[in-house]
Amino acid sequence: MKLSDILMGPIIVGIGIVALIAASMQPKPFFGTGYGGGLFPTVVGCGLLLAGALLTLNGWKERASQPLVVIGDWIRSPRHIANAAVVLGALLFYILFSKSLGFILAGFVVIFVTLLQFTRAPVRSLIVAVATTLVVKIGFQDVLLVPLPWGILEPYAGVLTWR
């Protein structure tokens, strides 16, 4: 999804303004050099403001030849839109439910759903998803001792730990 400079420029200017406002809310220094936490964000905000303005100017000059928004071929393919939606949805699902469901279940859902969407082969997806979840679980949780959440499987944690 490519926005033309004439749309992108104002977005950058907007980010710059937000940075400037946020910087101005930083507490003023009362000792030392007189430079506080707001100084660098102010410089960066000004930079964004300037660069965004230049980009807008560019876009204005080329407004005849630059379409406002160019979207890739995928916009006409429901399958590809679903692909991206599944990737993002799976990550959101993990963020929301990994604590309650635990890694084994939530992680399995993440990989199984994306595999199914990408390959459309349920049996193979299931095998690969189970195998990968197991490898990651053993590798990270049992060997590297990363405290992946147990969630509802907590009562079985002892049985499920390989050591």
């Binding site: 936490g37 560019n58 990550l91 993990y94 890694f103 994306t114």
Partner: protein, 499 residues
């Protein structure tokens, strides 16, 4: 010399060697698969290296990156798709030669020039870096401030695409670096009231998002399947290679030199080294006509250059703590996570470690010949691995990798956000490297500035009071002004043309 011997012994431990071997195989695999870049290989490796000692951790990154840069040549020659951006310069020629039945020769040349280029770069690194370090010991916060400025501006200006977008990318990265506690007073800044952001935005989660999640999204939305392989039979890749390499020895040599020199430059990564070297070898070709028709000369030059630059890009990263490209930016991040501060003092404090890192370049590039040979032989199977299965597997590793760094779910959120941002930026022609450098160096930029200002009691002219610092400052400001000067020159030229 004794230090080098100690470092050699540290590197020769069985577990370290095993790590290097596994990381090499991983790098070859990731580099060879189109759509998975060398930077992605390194980003995915970081969460695993987190649990290792510093030497095997960095050695793993070194070997994976060197191998991935070489392995990018394999799909270039066989599918006409560069496996990593640094192979793009000679993809067309390589494919053309493969179609003409010279696939073995091309792949043989790629593996040998990559290894030799990397070796030369590694040796250069070993002897040049300590010299730079000795010099750098005399540098104060003024010089560091300008060096960081210089590195960041060059990164923004050299990046592919428009300079304005490079600058915007850099500023956005710097803005992200501002999140966290303000170093001087310890007050929270841009944390939106979330304590999870007090330590700043997690670097590794950002990396994984920008380089892996963004890539997975791009794959999810891409509609073109991989083309069929140019050839299925790969015979002896070393047959008849030596005379060919001898014929193009000048291009080979210049490729090594160009790569070695480009590596330490801020903002110039392996891909730029390959492009410059390819263009130069065409310019000074022994037979321009044959070069344009397609021969090994450009491949030899650029293939050596990209690997040489991977080695020497560690000079500014380890000696000054200022990375020049995304890959060394990750290495700096890893060193910090390990509680080591890269900088000239590292040669005194951690000599075994630093020489071990340098030696690992030599080891990795020596390993490249047998492992590269195996990868080329197995390329049919590697390129056959369906990406539809690979991408979801990588997705799960990303989730766990981001989580593993500080064991919080907020890292997964960060990864998701930066994945979408990275994808959007790439779609709109914003280079990613300046943003990453901004994230990594933003803190250092601010701290060196504030320390200098406190030392100078607020007198900005002190930034120009020392010879090196003044020179660096002037160069930086000249680069800042260069677009303006160019614009004025263009205007003047146009006016003269009109008159």
């Amino acid at each position: 010399m004794e230090v080098i011997y100690d470092a050699f012994l540290a590197l020769m431990r069985l577990d370290v060697l095993l790590v290097i071997l596994l990381a090499s195989i991983f790098g070859l695999f990731v580099g060879a698969i189109p759509g998975l870049t060398a930077t992605m290989a390194v980003a995915l490796l970081v969460p695993v290296t987190f649990f290792m000692d510093p030497l095997p951790a960095i050695a793993a990154i070194v070997s994976a990156s060197a191998m991935a840069i070489f392995a990018g040549d394999i799909p270039s020659a066989l599918l006409r798709i560069p496996g990593t951006p640094s192979s793009a310069a000679y993809t067309d020629v390589a494919y053309k030669l493969t179609m003409a039945g010279k696939g073995e020769l091309v792949l043989g040349a790629c593996v040998v020039t990559s290894a030799v280029g990397g070796l030369f770069g590694g040796v250069f690194l070993m002897f040049f870096a300590p010299a730079v370090a000795k010099f750098a010991l005399n540098m104060s916060s003024y010089e560091y401030f300008w060096l960081v400025c210089l590195g960041l501006t060059s990164a923004a200006f050299i990046a592919p695409g428009s300079a304005i977008k490079g600058m915007i990318s850099l500023f956005l990265g710097l803005l992200v670096a501002m999140v966290g506690l303000f170093p001087v007073t310890g007050q929270p800044r841009f944390t939106f009231g979330s304590t999870a952001l007090y330590g700043g935005v997690g670097l590794v989660a950002t990396l994984i998002g920008m380089f892996a999640i963004a890539e997975i999204l791009r794959y999810a939305l891409s509609r073109d399947p991989l083309p069929p392989m140019a050839t299925n039979k790969i015979g002896n890749i070393f047959k008849g290679l030596a005379p060919e390499l001898w014929r193009y020895r000048r291009g080979f040599g210049s490729g090594i030199v160009v790569g070695t020199v480009t590596g330490p430059l801020p903002g110039a990564g392996a891909d730029i080294a390959a492009w410059i070297s390819y263009a130069l070898s065409r310019r000074f070709s022994i037979n321009r006509k044959e070069f344009d028709k397609g021969n090994l000369e450009g491949i030899v030059a650029a293939g050596a250059a990209n690997n040489a630059s991977v080695s020497t890009s560690y000079v500014p990263a380890t000696v000054l703590g200022i990375p020049g490209d995304s890959m060394t930016a990750i290495v700096i991040g890893v060193l910090f996570i390990k509680g080591l501060t890269p900088g000239p003092a590292i040669f005194q404090n951690q000599p075994t470690l630093i020489y071990g890192i340098f030696l690992s370049f030599i080891l990795a590039n020596l390993l490249m010949i047998p492992l590269g040979y195996a990868a080329i032989k197995l390329s049919r199977y590697i390129l056959d691995v369906p990406r539809a299965y690979l991408m979801p597997i990588i997705l799960l590793f990303c989730v766990v990798g981001a989580f593993a760094m500080d064991n919080t779910l907020s890292a997964v959120v960060t990864m998701l956000v930066f994945g979408v941002v990275g994808w959007f930026m790439e779609e709109n022609g914003f280079p990613i490297a300046p943003a990453l450098l901004g994230v990594v160096l933003g803190r250092m930029l601010e701290e060196t500035f504030l320390t200098s200002m406190i030392k100078a009691q607020g007198d900005f002219l002190q930034f120009f009071s020392r010879p090196i610092s003044a020179t660096l400052g002037v160069i930086t400001i000249l680069i800042w002004l260069s677009p303006l000067v160019m614009l004025l020159l263009k205007r003047a030229g146009r006016r003269r043309a009109e008159a």
